[in-house]
């Protein structure tokens, strides 16, 4: 079966700086892929290329086997939006503070589908149900919601266009532990119900393990290791992956043990 | 080449480019103006066509626009600011005597603004409560008073009322001049002082709330040293910028004050020339003021760069 989304030799440079050197991966239909890396690894630039915010300097992106063209026009963007959507890290700045939640979801529906006002209203409450928002929240503005609730709104907004791929860019990183668990469960439920595919961009190995089956590890712009998530975490091959793995606190963990070389500036 | 050297060269290049563009705007705007310069030259009398032709030739009025601009610009670069249509004398001669008054007035006011404004701002920022409230109230009023009104109030109270200061005129000799220019300088300084005081206060308050100040306090550094080394030192960066720009703006503020005190400075001359449509003088003075303003602004930028070590090459911050 053709992968739903495939990156082939992506490279992105800004002036003389190489943000992404060489990234390839394939996301199976209905699958979930983790892109793991720290700051400066190029994972965010990769995500921006996938949704068309950046144009790759080299390489190409295949969606359902077809190469994605540069999203120049609004129409092209809409077309891509119906295939790939994104949820951002910061639940506070990813919603327009002046817009009610219902109108935020409604706006996306209006852009993508020729629906009547009643149809849209029905679809909005359906989406709200899916992510666990009640009517009172729908009528309110982001200011009245907690971080976790806002992230649910952001997920609902991304799902409104009925995309096949959802890119989660550190989407649970800013949340409190107890809220993070709730959102992770929600993401698992949604995938079960809608057969959507995920790309999870994250530095948090435990989160990656929780909701992905496949993963690639990025370091300084390149993929250094890829394969099934469980295998990467249980038997890391690349030196960097091992260091990353050893840096995560847990029972019996000793800080600084992973310190291989004296820290780089 | 050092980063600083590159920065200075870039600034210099920008300065020249801005001045060129500004000179083009000044000259071009005059050329666009409705009305016939000949009418001004002849004072509205009817003149025979030959005289008109000779006048047009004398003032190069029939040359193409760019060629006239080029002649004007090269003239200025050689110190030739053109000829006054009304006075029939070189503009540079006419300006020479007047420049001194204006420069003295602006420098006098600048000293007052920097001394009073920054002091008041620092005091208000550090002494919360009554002192702060009084200064804030005073500066709120001060910022709302236009300089010409301050001038009138000062004249009413200190010149005609109490008779402490002369009413009009620039005075003779340096001390007498300062004496004569005291009220004008105060009039020019009041609203800018208020502005500088408020912005100084805001800059210091902002710096006081910074985390690095908290770190210094948590290390047991005495408060007065924290204020001096961390708060004032860091707040100097925005304060310098604001004060510098305010002082540069005085170049224009002086127009109004000179008029209110009947001082024979550049500003009064400009207004006079505007009402008489003496274009060469207007062009020259506007360009002179713009040049002063732009040069002062550039100096502020350079100063800013020198006191803020954080600025990376290629931009601020």
């Amino acid at each position: 079966m053709t992968p739903i989304l495939e990156a082939q030799g992506l490279r992105k440079t800004f002036g003389g700086n190489v943000a992404v050197a060489d990234v390839s991966f394939a996301l199976a239909r209905g699958g979930s892929l983790g892109i793991v890396g720290e700051s400066g690894s190029g994972k965010t630039t990769t995500a921006r290329m996938l949704v068309g915010l950046e144009v790759p300097t080299q390489g190409r992106i295949l969606f359902d086997g077809e190469p994605l063209e540069r999203a120049r026009s609004t129409a092209r963007r809409r077309e891509r939006a119906r295939g790939i959507q994104m949820v951002f890290q910061d639940p506070y700045s990813s919603l327009d503070r002046r817009q009610t939640i219902a109108s935020c979801l409604d706006e996306v529906l209006r852009v993508h589908f020729p629906m009547s006002a009643e149809q849209r209203a029905a679809r909005v409450s359906e989406l709200a149900d899916l992510v666990g928002l009640d009517d009172r929240m729908l009528r309110g503005r982001p200011g009245a919601l907690s971080g976790g609730q806002r992230q649910r709104v952001a997920i609902a907004r991304a799902l409104a266009a009925e995309p096949e791929v959802l890119i989660l860019d550190e989407a649970v990183a800013a949340l409190d532990v107890s809220i993070q668990a709730q959102v992770l469960n929600l993401l698992a439920d949604i995938r079960e119900r809608t057969s959507i595919s995920y790309i999870l961009i994250s530095h948090d190995l435990a989160v990656v393990r929780q909701i992905t089956e496949e993963a690639v590890v990025m370091y300084q712009g390149a993929v250094v290791e890829s394969g099934p998530t469980a295998k990467i975490l249980d038997e890391p091959q690349h030196e960097y992956t091992r260091r990353l793995r050893a840096s995560v606190p847990g029972p019996g963990w000793v800080p600084g043990k992973a310190l291989a070389s004296g820290g780089a500036a | 080449m050092s980063e600083l050297g590159k920065f200075l060269i870039r600034k210099l290049f920008g300065l020249v480019a801005t001045l060129l563009a500004a000179s083009f705007v000044v000259f071009g705007a005059t050329a666009l103006a409705p009305g016939d310069p000949i009418a001004v030259l002849t004072g509205g009398r009817s003149v025979d066509p030959e005289t008109i032709a000779s006048l047009r030739a004398h003032y190069h009025l029939d040359d193409p626009f760019l060629s006239r601009y080029w002649q004007w610009l090269t003239g200025i670069l050689h110190g030739d600011l053109g000829q006054s249509i009304i006075a029939r004398r070189d503009v540079s001669d006419l300006l020479a005597s007047r420049t001194e008054t204006t420069v003295l007035l602006v420098v006098y006011a600048a000293v007052l603004i920097l001394a009073a404004g920054i002091t008041l701002g620092i005091v208000a920022a550090l002494r919360k409560g009554a002192v702060d409230n009084v200064i804030m109230l005073g500066t709120t009023a001060g910022m709302a008073i236009p300089s010409f009104l301050t001038a009138i109030v000062l004249i009413v109270v200190f010149a005609t009322g109490l008779g402490w200061f002369p009413v009009f005129g620039p005075g003779d000799g340096f001390t007498d001049r300062l004496w004569h220019l005291t009220l004008p300088a105060i009039a020019l300084a009041v609203s800018s002082t208020a502005l500088v005081a408020r912005l100084t206060r805001a800059a210091i308050r902002e710096e006081l709330g910074k985390e690095h100040v908290e770190t210094a306090i948590s290390r047991g550094i005495p408060r007065r040293l924290v204020v001096r080394r961390h708060v004032l030192r860091n707040a100097m960066v925005p304060i310098t910028t604001v004060s510098g720009l305010t002082v540069a703006g005085l170049v224009v503020g002086s127009l109004v004050v000179e008029r209110a005190f009947s001082l024979n400075g550049i500003g009064a001359f400009l207004i006079d020339s505007v009402t008489k449509s003496d274009y060469p003088v207007v062009q020259a003075i506007v360009l002179l003021l713009v040049a002063t303003f732009v040069v002062l602004n550039t100096l502020v930028d350079v100063l800013y760069r020198l006191i803020d070590s954080r600025i990376e090459p290629g931009g601020r911050g």
């Binding site: 393990r209 840096s247 000793v254 800080p255 | 770190t215 948590s218 047991g220 961390h230 006191i307």
Partner: protein, 314 residues
């Protein structure tokens, strides 16, 4: 060495008092590392700030904080300064914001020593270079001349640790010192902090939201919820002996690195701040074991845990 009893802090927010710390008591022995963990709004950072007397203006602080018998809340300005010079040092979350950006790293490191101990510049610089070497910065002499913007976040936090140790404090207050750092950098910085703390015999109040991290570097842990400590326990016993439902919930709701579960066991609802919490037990609205008594009266902190049902549940 540090003894906190019934600490209660109220801040003024837009002119209205808001309780951020409800009732907190704990002790830290000499050389001991105590981890205070909690979610946002739990009051953990405010507790550290109260210990250093660095609360925001208008804050109201009652209860007792005693450092080696000294009543910290009653110190006069000069005594307070000596207390900060000799006894405590604080490390903040964001090193970039916590170091004066227009002065050199050397100025930052030596300022306190020169001002408070009258050390000469050379002497202070030598000590700074030695401490930089201890935090794993080898070319200290060069670093002293640099400005903060020339250093990475990880290096800056090491500089911050070195600066905290310049005054040979007895207690280190570390407020989420590695939260802003990458995972691998966090591990390095935590390793350095941990080792130096032990070598220099400094006690530590370690504030974090990461239960596992606190468990790894601290001797004992206090779990805060809505402005109160709900449980204190030894780090060794963290996974086995957690008794409070909130502590248990935090431990199980975090995804695991070594195993995948289909659904995580969750604590419903969202974390509350002290001023939002209802009467009775603050955790009652989110607790799976809640009974009528929990909503009626707040449980006392008895034998290391604050829960009415601790006897039946653990």
């Amino acid at each position: 060495m540090l003894e906190i009893k019934n600490l209660r802090v109220r801040l003024r927010v837009e002119g209205e008092p808001r309780t951020v710390i409800h009732d907190t008591s704990f002790t830290i022995g000499a050389g001991e590392a105590f981890g205070l963990i909690g979610e946002s709004g739990s009051g953990k950072s405010m507790t550290a700030r109260a210990v250093a007397r660095l609360l925001p203006e208008g804050a109201e602080c009652t209860g007792e904080i005693a450092f080696a018998g000294k009543p910290v809340l009653a110190l006069k300005p000069d005594e307070l300064r000596r207390y900060r010079v000799d006894d405590v040092a604080m490390i903040f979350q964001d090193p970039r914001a916590s170091i004066n950006p227009v002065r050199t790293v050397g100025d930052f490191l030596t300022e306190a020593a020169r001002t408070n101990f009258g050390m000469r510049r050379r002497e202070a610089e030598d000590k700074a270079v030695a401490l930089l070497a201890e935090v794993g910065i080898a070319d200290g002499g060069r670093r002293l001349k640099q400005h903060p913007h020339q250093l990475s976040g990880g290096l800056l936090q090491r500089v911050m640790i070195a600066s905290a140790l310049m005054g040979d404090p007895k207690l280190l207050l570390a407020d989420e010192p590695t939260t802003a750092l990458d995972v691998t950098t966090q591990s390095e910085v935590m390793g350095i902090l941990n080792r130096l703390r032990a070598e220099h015999g400094v006690a530590m109040l370690f504030i974090t939201h990461d239960l596992e991290l606190a468990g790894a570097v601290c001797d004992r842990i206090g779990v805060m919820y809505a402005g109160s400590i709900v449980e204190t326990l030894s780090s060794d016993a963290l996974h086995e002996a957690a008794r409070h439902p909130y502590t248990q919930g935090l431990l199980t709701s975090r995804p695991s690195l070594t195993a995948t579960t289909r659904r995580l066991p969750v604590i419903p609802g969202k974390p509350l701040s002290a001023f939002e919490a209802p009467g009775g037990c603050a955790f009652a609205p989110r607790c799976a074991h809640v009974i009528a008594q929990c909503r009626e009266s707040g449980p006392e902190f008895v034998d290391g845990v604050r829960c009415h049902r601790v006897g039946e549940l653990s």
